[in-house]
Subunit: 380 residues, 2 copies
């Protein structure tokens, strides 16, 4: 693929899930937290053994050292330039598996956002940021959205797909109110399932190994979308968009059909819903592709994409630099060109306001202390 292109060409590739590593956040946090951060770490833990191979790709380590994806300039050359990606939506340690202290969690989220704004977004117009929040403290989360959501390059809110209650419930509405006010989509991302303050990652308890845990991460996505629709979030916040990052998509037909069928019999229990559940989903929910399903028969994936009306619901993501990242030059190549254009750029361009091909100028990142190798990495 071309390493350079004319700036008047259309936007052709947007990667909606790139995990930049913000590293040591000490400089972005009040002194009161420094000792806790350095001695206790994040404290979120995990319910599984971890990926035996590690989560980040070792070949994504910057030449100057540090964790993979911790250097903006190397991320641009190693990932954006390599695949001719116009825009990358940075999702950081999106899930933020942090221990229970809500003030500490809020401080980590704010520091992560400040680091993204100060160290990453100025480097190139091709990087867009996500506002990390602590969804267990919705008023504080709403305040954080309003604090940094005015930055023109912070293009969505992101929170863990795991939570102590389904996200449709009323305690979370301040988050959607703030996001809608600022015109920002709200995304969920796995990683906190079974960690921090989350329930077990399945409704039947804890898996024993990383693979079993990773296989079943989409369960939280199904439960959250079901809750958002049934609780009427998309009636109450009619311009809200909800994004499922890295949760798969092949389960959506079943969920929509089951919800629609039950709604026909039980709609009087949700009188605030004026349309079929599937209509809310197709209008308000967007899903990213990685890890893309790879059936032995490629027709099956094309059929699933038709069932979920992928030309408006589905957006390419790579999950760079994680172990199971998808390669933009290899996945979904056989699709109909129009559908492919919608998935690789069209829908994301509209959702994130990235409709104009960006300048490719790179401004050197501000110097900063070296980041510890393993700090604030994601686990999924």
């Amino acid at each position: 693929m071309a390493m350079e292109a004319a700036t008047d060409a259309p936007v052709s590739l947007i990667d909606t899930d790139v995990h930049h590593v913000v590293g040591d956040l000490t400089e972005f946090m009040p002194r009161v937290w420094h000792e806790k951060l350095h001695r206790g770490g994040l404290g979120g833990g995990a319910c599984h053994d971890g990926n035996p191979r590690g989560v980040p790709r070792r070949d994504a380590t910057p030449p100057g050292g540090g964790a993979p994806a911790s250097d903006p300039e190397f991320l641009i050359t190693d990932h954006l330039d390599r695949y001719d990606i116009d825009y990358a939506i940075l999702t950081g340690s999106a899930g933020l598996a942090v221990g229970p202290d809500p003030d500490f969690r809020n401080a980590i989220a704010a520091a992560s956002n400040d680091c993204t704004i100060e160290r990453w977004l100025p480097v190139t117009a091709r990087l867009k940021g996500s506002i990390v929040i602590n969804s267990d403290d919705p008023p504080a989360a709403a305040a954080e959205i309003r604090r940094v959501g005015v930055h023109p390059d912070m293009v969505q809110v992101v929170m863990g797909s795991a939570s102590r209650a389904p996200y449709g419930q009323r305690q979370y509405h301040p988050i959607y109110e703030a996001a809608e006010e600022l015109g920002l989509p709200v995304a969920i991302h796995p990683g906190t399932e079974g960690a921090g303050q989350a329930w077990p990652p399945t409704p039947v308890g804890y898996p024993n190994r990383y693979m079993e845990w990773h296989n079943i991460l989409p369960l939280t996505f199904m439960a959250q979308i079901n809750s958002l629709v049934c609780e009427g979030v998309f009636e109450r916040f009619p311009s809200l968009m909800f994004v499922g990052l890295e949760g798969g998509l092949g389960w959506l037909p079943h969920l929509m059909w089951r919800m629609d069928k039950n709604f026909k019999a039980l709609r009087d229990t949700t009188p605030w819903l004026r349309r079929l559940p599937s209509e809310y989903i197709l209008d308000h929910v967007r899903l990213s592709t990685q890890p893309i399903e790879e059936p032995a028969d490629h027709r099956h994936l094309e059929q699933i994409l038709e069932m979920i009306d992928a030309k408006r619901t589905t957006m390419f993501s790579s999950d760079y630099p994680h172990w199971d990242n998808d390669n933009a030059a290899l996945v979904l190549r056989r699709l109909d060109p129009h559908l492919r254009q919608r998935i690789f750029s069209g829908t994301a361009a509209e959702l994130y306001g990235c409709t104009v091909r960006p300048e490719r100028t790179v401004r050197p990142a501000a110097p900063r202390p070296p980041a510890p190798t393993a700090a604030l990495e994601s686990v999924e």
Copy 2:
């Protein structure tokens, strides 16, 4: 459809999920439990408001009174004869949402099985029984399987789809050992999600209403099948068959593809697996149809059935007499005739040993005390 047929005709319709109501179990339980049963009930509770319309169909009430599906003779005329069903697999209050006391749960399971054997199976050869167990006490469950599993008309084991740990884990292996020894499939059925000793029905906590709860019941099925495969249950018990009753089927393609994809990268963490996860699923897992998915475009359901190789994995069920039961004369009529025959009878006939069309003689049920209307009903 014909109300009578020649006995040398092939088996053409097997209903794999019929909820007979065993009613008051006092006469089948030791005296020590009578007061607890009558004063405290089952104690399992539920995490939702309940179906506002009630779960059993009111028109399934026997002419002599009592709960719907509490009278064997009326069940035969109202359901089996009406749809020309050769065999019905009785699943009773399959989930058995009972409070935490393991001895009480074991006693209820045993009494339910004894009632099925004494009051239901002698009435006609068309009724087959499921051995209800308390899966939270695997040694006692294994003993119960061995106690009543020798009865030739008890054709499977059934347990709640909710559990405190994923069913692949080693504490549950005594159940599979006993079932395999007796050549019995092990089935799961919803109803206990969020009740009794179960976790919340989703990995993100408790839904607020019945519809949302009912929409998301398949999550436990996905988690259990993922666990059974990853933990190597089908390598350790190579002739074991596992049945998912009333959990849907449209989610299976996604689960298989995600498991296979992760297995290719992480297979060294499950060295006991010698084949792709999807191969174990297609060989060892069977799913019942009700509530059948009803997409607006019927082709989509046919595509899903192809993805899950439905001719060997999928079995018709009605869920009679519950509110959302499927009508054998109406559902899945457009399928290819061979696939339809496999779903409506072929696979179930092989699984349950119901390959010969049964005599249609009905022997009057033994007289028994009238059953309380609401006792031991299911909630799904």
